[in-house]
Symmetry: C2
Subunit: 338 residues, 2 copies
DNA sequence: GTGAAAGCGCTAACAC
DNA sequence: GTGTTAGCGCTTTCAC
């Protein structure tokens, strides 16, 4: 049969070397106190001598748990996700769990493929940072498996979720622009049914309403999250009669793309026009001009979702399927004249 | 004992439901042809009915393999790594392997912790995109485990490695600057002992030599890969007598930081001074000015290292510990006046 | 405090 | 073509 390159020591070998039973070795391995110091010492010496490392496949099979959580992200190139995962790891490591991540590249077949690690018990739970699964699919899966959503909720999904209040965040951002005197505020969104997209549009509209600004659908441009769409939106805004003096984009990338187009055309961002993004990616600060944006508390979100998910994993009953909201933060920089 | 939330079906259940033995079920599961169509059909119906998904812990334990490869990266926020991992996944999925990734946050203790997945047989192999391990440690580990380095080699490590020729890449970049007439060419590097850092400095010096330019240590600024160091380097260059007219930085981030400082001071990059980076991260194209740089073939690197590593995993003997070099590519943009 | 032994879910001889 | 069974490495009852 197939074996590891080098036959590695097993618990049996350690037991033989130490002159005790495998049960005793196992007890030492698991920090069980019901073992004499003398035996423990012998075992530890044997472990060191044989360079033994326990095979987790055996352990996990026996314990029906792996202490590993898989995080599936739609794209591996979004720094937001990296930050969330860092938060997840930070919490997980404190309680003896490992986080591994995989990227679905926004492809539902890949996502399903990766979910297999959940089905085949390679991991104890999954966190989805955005998903192509429907609410029904998620609800069905969450009956048998430990699943959580983070960063991006799914409407109708009755599953543990951690995210910012997208509507309120967009509302605050647009209100800020209105407070600064802007009356013509453009919106760069997407046609995605994702909550982050739809809710932010709702927030945009509410803010206009509460500021006594009439909604003008000509000021709303929606396409996709792709970088180019920011510039395309900007071009569009230039064609309409009463151009916006400020623009709110649902992502920093879209905002940055629009800013570049603007600067290319000689329209100075921050003075001639204000542009605001969402996410607070690294580029917002490294850009010229620096970009005003809405920050999501990535680390906090990661920590919270893992804490709650582990709770669910450990408690057979009483699954927590709540929708947790974390606080966002407005960061005003040069792109809005701040 | 601890059990999964919902007792999930096992191969036994399927066998009972289908009215065959577990061996037959296993054969169907593994695509073994020695099974009648009639039996296979019964098994498949039972699988569907019970919503059965094989437990890989059992399978992997039995087969001594997991078909999973772990990729450990120093930081999860570098788009270069994301691209490499995408390449790794692309190849792996074709041959039935999964790639999972974890970030060590440049911390050796975390890295060691994650390497545990290799020792405890949770994964079949590990790819390190930069490591804090010494050559000796790597050599020792590679005797018993399947390890590969990608993107960043380690001097003295006799282990499978895939990377660009850093020295040649830097040489080409600096030669290009020299060809454009620059005689005072600054170098922004790091004090890191990493090959990517040291070799690029060697390439820089060789290019000067081959261009008949005297090496001037005042033109060499070395600190760390941190963003701020680019600006600090730029500030330093302004203090020396005979300022550089061109600067080569060992990373795009350092170059971009320097560019920002330059622009802030009113020194136009691309005309007053040329600045060139390394990596071709997304920002290079999204910046104003766009940034000239050296591109690494990330996808290719990822694919190659996985292909070779899987070869090693599958062949007990004949481990391939070669150092594979992939081709880099110069990309000239506005920051060098192109 | 310790050991014997059952068994987690699966695969692969081996026998028929 | 199919079933029986040993055993992968481990944990955990249950005796003692």
């Amino acid at each position: 049969m197939a074996r590891y390159e080098i036959m590695s020591a097993t618990i049996k070998d350690v037991a033989r070397e130490a002159g005790v039973s495998v049960a005793t070795v196992s007890r030492v391995l698991n920090g069980n106190c019901n073992v004499s110091e003398y035996s423990a010492d012998k075992v530890n010496r044997a472990i060191k001598k044989l360079n033994y490392s326990p095979n987790f496949l055996g352990r996990n099979l026996r314990k029906c748990e792996t202490n590993v959580i898989l995080c599936i992200m739609p794209s591996s190139e979004h720094s937001l996700y990296s930050k969330i995962i860092a938060g997840m790891q930070s919490y997980a490591s404190k309680v003896g769990y490992d986080i591994i991540s995989a990227s679905s590249n926004n492809t539902s077949t890949v996502e399903v493929r990766q979910m297999n690690m959940l089905f085949n018990r390679t991991v104890d739970g999954v966190v989805l940072l955005g998903t192509s699964l429907s609410a029904e699919q998620i609800n069905e899966l969450s009956v048998n498996y430990n699943i959580a959503l983070c960063c991006e909720g799914v409407i109708g999904a009755n599953v543990l979720t951690v995210a910012v209040n997208d509507e309120k965040a967009a509302y605050d951002a647009v209100m800020k622009l209105a407070e600064k005197g802007h009356r013509r505020i453009g919106f760069i969104g997407t046609n995605s049914p994702a909550i982050s997209s739809t809710s932010r549009e709702v927030g945009y509209k509410k803010a206009l309403e509460d500021s006594g600004i009439a909604y003008d659908e000509k000021l709303v441009y929606k396409d996709s999250f792709d970088y180019e769409c920011g510039a395309a939106a900007f071009d569009y805004f230039l064609t309409i009669e009463d151009r916006p003096t400020a623009v709110f984009a649902v992502s920093d990338l879209l905002a940055i793309s629009a800013i570049h187009r603007s600067e290319d055309l000689g329209i100075r961002v921050g003075s001639d026009i204000s542009i605001m993004g969402f996410d607070n990616i690294f580029m917002c600060e490294a850009m010229l001009p620096t970009v005003s944006t809405v920050e999501q508390p990535c680390a906090e979100m990661g920590e919270l979702v893992i804490a709650k998910l582990i709770h669910n994993i450990r408690s057979e009953k009483d699954k927590d399927n709540a929708y947790y909201t974390v606080d966002h933060r407005l960061i005003m920089r040069h792109s809005t004249g701040d």
